[in-house]
């Protein structure tokens, strides 16, 4: 039963009934309702339970500011947590639950036991985190269960989201009177305009207004503006679109909800769009938020914002009660009592804190026979599950204390207005420092830091005429500054409006008892922050508003304290004996209201999350049943299991095949940079630790690249292709960074060197044929060069024809075996690969993956940059001084750092091999190394394991590790205590386990 629905009026469609459930119970509303409006229409008082105390809470507001009516929609994959019921449009079948309340909103254990309040005094979070013993983990379980902050879906999101990049001359935020006037003015001047508003309909405050513009109802004026803007191709209208963040250089994010009003999910449609807008100019017409009054039990259901009472009545045809008491500090809120009276409901009293209110609206109310109690305040609301009465007491002359006994007014609705706070959130995102305005009793936007201006009530203009005029001016100014010089005459909108008297500042309503003894006076409803808590914070010595915010958690809710922050800061200021401007305000951050992750991600999910790179031989690997490993964006074969084989079996088989006959690796992913120019040799000489200037065509050289701090950055082989022409191989993961590094030095430090870099990684496919039979395989498919060791020695390369395809063959080795790396243009890659497989058949050629590659290189003690090094390792640490030239004239990058005092320490971590006492024990990579496992903690750390495998060729495990002073500790025993309690004993040995003289690659 929609008991609170009035007979007529409102912007709802009474012919279209909509069924929905709330906390499992069925209700009915009308199309055009928000969930909050429909709940109020159905007389639902309690919509949630408070965070700390479990107190019953009702709907307070009607928009983004709502702190209490936080709901979770739907269930399963489609569930959406933490939505404000005041912003959820009703649709058929809507299913909503309160997020607060355990076990239910109608019975909450916290209220009965009061245990959360005792458990969480002010400063609870702060103290919990600051304690040496971190108690947070202990509390967290209980807090989460009781507080109910909404549940994230466990399934992946079935809906589809888009991201759009937009540009415009003028972005107008908010489509109330100021925003519409601004957009019209800017569009008339020829600007490309985007106007966005978070509500389903444009009009802002005019949607619930009884005022007239140009002699017509305000909404007719809105319709005119929309027709004008809608017919302009340069204007984009975005309803249901929240501008949630204002970022650097006039970049703003807009979340457009395209289907949320139709249902929980929308297969085949785009649910939400993220507009990423770069605007030349911005007009912030974001309106203002009414400020609550802080008095005892002000959180009872039935205590609402005055403007919200009017909005529900005028816009949704919902009277949120029967007998109204209006408590105000200003003229503006009198409209609520007038609206209520006109709707035929009873206004019990208007309680006005000002001693002599005589404004036009005040007089109108009096003419309707409404009784005004001037100089009085509501000190306390009475009731348990809903307000039943208001205790009203007179104020003393300076409004600092009550001056007499309180009387009780029976009522079931208590509308409150402490004036208005401009919605300065977006302005604040830009870094503009909010300015306190004594006359307006509020913070207004500070000096612009970006190309923006505020207009209308966002700037403190609370009259309709003022909003229209400021909007028009702001729109024209924005267009002009965006470079448009079209028509710029001021629009003239006529409004019949009477002046209002100043409001009274009232941040904490006095009570006969002190703040700490009076019944709780709530400042922040969502996080249950009371006036007493803020005063306590001040007594405990907190002075900065940012610290008090953290101490009390004020403003930390999902509503960011939209309602409560100003009162809280003012109460703090008074407790500190300071003014509000000196106390300052907290800074609002994006997002204005919570933003869905789906919209932030857009289409960049699942397969489109990150590009995948494949080599030319990918299909072949797949056909062979390879398991793949991600190396950066590359998919590389990891190992090729045969039916029934475990990974361990497959890797052992592949390792043995390479050392005993021949194996083949797809090495196409290695970075390849083509380097040319008359100074290419000199440039390489400067970048590498060893000498390159004299590298002759046909020759290759392995080099280390350091950062200027002397630490190993990348390694690889560079071949001289011809005079002034080189091909640099980098690690697979380091390719992009190396190219950037080369370009940095060439462009910024040595522009006089003529040298050019081109990434050719994807141009070539590489098949590494390696093992004692490698030459025999190549001989079968290549007969135009002499492949003998004498004619084509280790570390040479040759142009050759392989299987009829022009190729480069490099005799370089990462396995320690005879190796021939065949490079062909990528489009021939798979063909040549298959020809090599065919040729190798008689030798049992075995494709192997990255795991076998790792084991084989570790047997040889070859490092992998980024695995055995971590950006703090020098060539000397790795035992690689053989690759560092001391003779080069030019001080290569990183050289000077190698002689800094810290580099000469004897106890630096150095690369060694580890042989476990039990040859079958394979140490976990990352295991910590200590000298004495029985040492009392903290145990001095000696280093850690960087690479570790089982070596089938050697019949025991092998590990590489970095150990303090390790090079001089050969034969010593060290210990690796593991997380599972085991301690593995190992001997420090040479990092070269296999073929220590390096003879096998030279055959």
């Amino acid at each position: 039963m929609q008991t609170n629905r009035v007979a007529s009026g409102g912007r709802i469609n009474r012919g279209n009934a909509v069924n929905f459930t709330f906390n499992g119970k069925a209700y009915q509303g009308f199309a055009g309702d928000t969930l909050a409006a429909a709940l109020l229409a159905n007389g639902v008082d309690i919509v949630g339970r408070s965070f700390k105390y479990g107190r019953p809470r009702g709907i307070v507001g009607h928009g983004a500011e709502e702190p209490n009516a936080i709901v979770q929609l739907g269930s399963g994959a489609q569930t959406v947590p933490n939505l404000r019921a005041t912003q959820v449009e009703l649709y058929e079948g809507l299913e909503a639950h309160s997020v607060g309340g355990w076990p239910s909103v109608d019975f909450d254990v916290r209220e009965v036991l009061g245990f959360m309040g005792k458990m969480m005094p002010p400063g609870f979070y702060y103290k919990t985190f600051m304690r040496p013993q971190n108690l947070w983990h202990f509390y967290e379980r209980w807090i989460r269960k009781a507080a109910g902050l909404g549940k994230a879906p466990l399934e992946s999101d079935p809906d589809c989201y888009d991201k759009l990049n937009q540009n415009c001359d003028v972005l107008v935020v908010g489509a109330g009177p100021a925003g519409l006037a601004a957009a019209s003015a800017a569009a008339r001047a020829g600007a490309r305009v985007i106007i966005a508003d978070e509500q389903q309909e444009f009009g802002g405050s005019l949607l619930a207004s009884q005022q007239q513009i140009d002699g017509q109802p305000a909404m007719s004026w809105v319709d005119e503006r929309l027709a004008e803007l809608g017919n302009n191709d340069n204007v984009m209208l975005l309803p249901r679109s929240t501008v949630f963040g204002y970022y650097d250089h006039n970049f703003l994010g807009i979340l457009e909800r395209r289907t949320d009003h139709l249902g929980i999910s929308s297969p085949g449609q785009v649910r939400q769009r993220m507009h990423r807008v770069r605007a030349k100019q911005v007009v912030l017409a974001t309106g203002a938020i009414e400020r609550p009054l802080v008095f005892a039990n002000n959180d009872l259901p039935g205590v609402m914002m005055a403007s919200s009472v009017s909005t529900y009545l005028n816009r949704y045809g919902v009277a949120a009660g029967n007998n109204l008491v209006l408590f105000t500090t200003n003229d503006n809120a009198y409209q609520t009592a007038i609206d209520w009276h006109k709707a035929g409901r009873k206004v019990v009293k208007i309680v006005d804190s000002r001693p002599e209110p005589t404004g036009a609206l005040v007089n109108t109310a009096r003419e309707f026979g409404i009784d005004v109690m001037a100089g009085h305040v509501v000190v306390e609301a009475k009731g348990r599950r809903r307000v039943k009465g208001a205790m009203v007491a007179p104020l003393n002359d300076n409004a600092s204390a009550v001056a007499g006994a309180a009387i009780r007014l029976d009522c079931d609705l208590l509308a409150c207005s402490g004036g208005w706070s401009p919605a300065i959130h977006l302005s604040s995102h830009t870094g503009a420092k909010p300015q306190w305005n004594d006359e307006l009793v509020g913070f207004v936007p500070g000096e612009s830091k970006q190309q923006e201006r505020s207009a209308g009530s966002a700037k403190g203009a609370y009259s309709l005429a003022g909003c229209l005029q400021q909007g028009d001016e702001a729109g024209r100014e924005a267009a002009r500054k965006a470079g448009l010089d079209g028509e710029s005459t001021a629009a003239s909108y006529q409004v019949d409006e009477q002046p209002q008297q100043p409001q009274q500042a009232m941040f904490l309503v006095p009570h006969a008892k002190s703040t700490s003894r009076a019944p709780v006076q709530f400042v922040d409803f969502q996080l249950d922050v009371t006036a007493a808590a803020i005063e306590l914070a001040a007594r405990e010595g907190y002075e900065s508003v940012e610290h008090v915010k953290r101490y009390t958690a004020m403003g930390f809710g999902t509503d960011q304290g939209k309602l409560g922050n100003i009162n809280g800061m003012a109460i703090l200021a008074r407790a500190l004996g300071r003014g509000i401007p000196e106390t300052g305000t907290t800074i609002f951050r994006p997002s204005y209201t919570p933003t869905t992750f789906g919209a932030i991600a857009g289409r960049d999910v699942a397969d489109l999350f990150d590009p995948e790179r494949y080599t030319a031989m990918q299909r072949w690997h797949q056909q062979q049943g390879a398991e793949f490993e991600n190396v950066g964006q590359w998919k590389r074969p990891w190992y090729y299991p045969k039916p029934g084989e475990t990974m361990h079996d497959a890797v052992n088989r592949e390792c043995l095949a390479v050392r005993n006959s021949v194996g083949m690796l797809d090495a196409s992913t290695l970075g390849k940079i083509d380097i040319q120019g008359p100074d290419a040799g000199e440039f390489l000489n400067r970048m590498y630790t060893n000498a390159y200037a004299k590298l002759a065509p046909g020759k290759c050289r392995y080099g280390l690249m350091l950062k200027e701090d002397g630490m190993i950055f990348d390694d690889g082989v560079t071949a001289c292709l011809g005079p002034n022409h080189y091909l640099m191989f980098t690690t697979t993961g380091g390719a992009a960074a190396v190219l950037a590094w080369l370009e940095l030095w060439q462009q910024t430090e040595w522009p006089e060197l003529q040298v050019y870099f081109t990434s050719v990684t994807d141009h070539w496919a590489t098949a590494t044929v390696t093992g004692p039979n490698a030459r025999k395989v190549i001989e079968k498919v290549c007969d135009d060069i002499d492949l003998s060791n004498e004619a084509f020695p280790f570390m040479d390369w040759r142009d050759a024809t392989v299987a009829g395809v022009s190729a480069r063959i490099f005799r370089i080795s990462f396995t320690g075996e005879l190796s021939l790396e065949v490079n062909v243009p990528a489009h021939h890659g798979r063909y040549v690969w298959e020809k090599l497989v065919e040729a190798g058949e008689e030798f049992g050629i075995t494709p192997y993956g990255t795991e076998t590659m790792h084991v084989l290189r570790a047997e040889k003690g070859f490092i992998i940059v980024g695995q055995d090094t971590d950006g703090s390792m020098t060539p000397a640490d790795m035992g690689m001084n053989w690759v560092v030239s001391q003779k080069k004239e030019f001080s290569f990058i990183g050289k000077r750092s190698l002689s800094r005092s810290d580099m000469l320490r004897e106890d630096r971590k150095q690369l060694v091999g580890l042989k476990t006492r039990d040859p079958q024990d394979v140490l976990p990579e990352g295991a910590q190394i200590v000298n004495q496992p029985e040492h009392a903690p903290p145990v001095p750390m000696q280093g850690h394991v960087t690479s570790s495998y089982y070596s089938a060729n050697l019949g025991h495990s092998i590990a590489l590790a970095v150990v303090k002073g390790g090079h001089k500790r050969m034969g010593e025993t060290v210990y690796c205590p593991l997380a599972d309690g085991r301690v593995i004993e190992a001997e420090i040995v040479s990092s070269i386990f296999y073929d220590p003289k390096g003879e096998r690659q030279n055959v």
Partner: protein, 108 residues
């Protein structure tokens, strides 16, 4: 997201196309071997960490792949100019204490 003018592409592009490349105008010493550890350490590790006007290198990594200099206000993030590596900035920090007196940025 910053909007950065690339002097090679001659247009303003989104920050996503660029990568930051550290403070500008730090020249590599011509003879590193002649420097003391301390002097070399100054070159390697010490940066002005300016509050206010700052000259820094940006790299149009997803565009023309050229490095260039930018003068940026580290308080407002306003970019005052883009110029070539070989050029000197047109905008410089005032040599007064005023640059030191910026407001405390608010943590949140």
């Amino acid at each position: 997201m910053l909007h950065i003018y690339c002097p090679f592409c001659r247009e303003e592009r989104d920050e996503e196309e660029f990568s930051y490349a550290g403070e500008a105008h730090i020249q590599r010493p011509l003879d590193p071997e002649s420097l003391s550890d301390e002097e070399w350490g100054d070159y390697l590790f010490f940066r002005t960490n300016a509050k206010g006007i700052h000259h820094e290198m940006w790299y149009h990594i997803a565009g023309c792949r050229r490095y260039f200099n930018v003068t940026r206000d580290t308080l407002s993030y306003q970019i005052l100019e883009s110029y070539l590596i070989s050029q000197q900035p047109g905008v410089r920090a005032k040599q007064t204490a005023s640059a030191e007196q910026g407001e405390q940025p608010n943590a949140n």
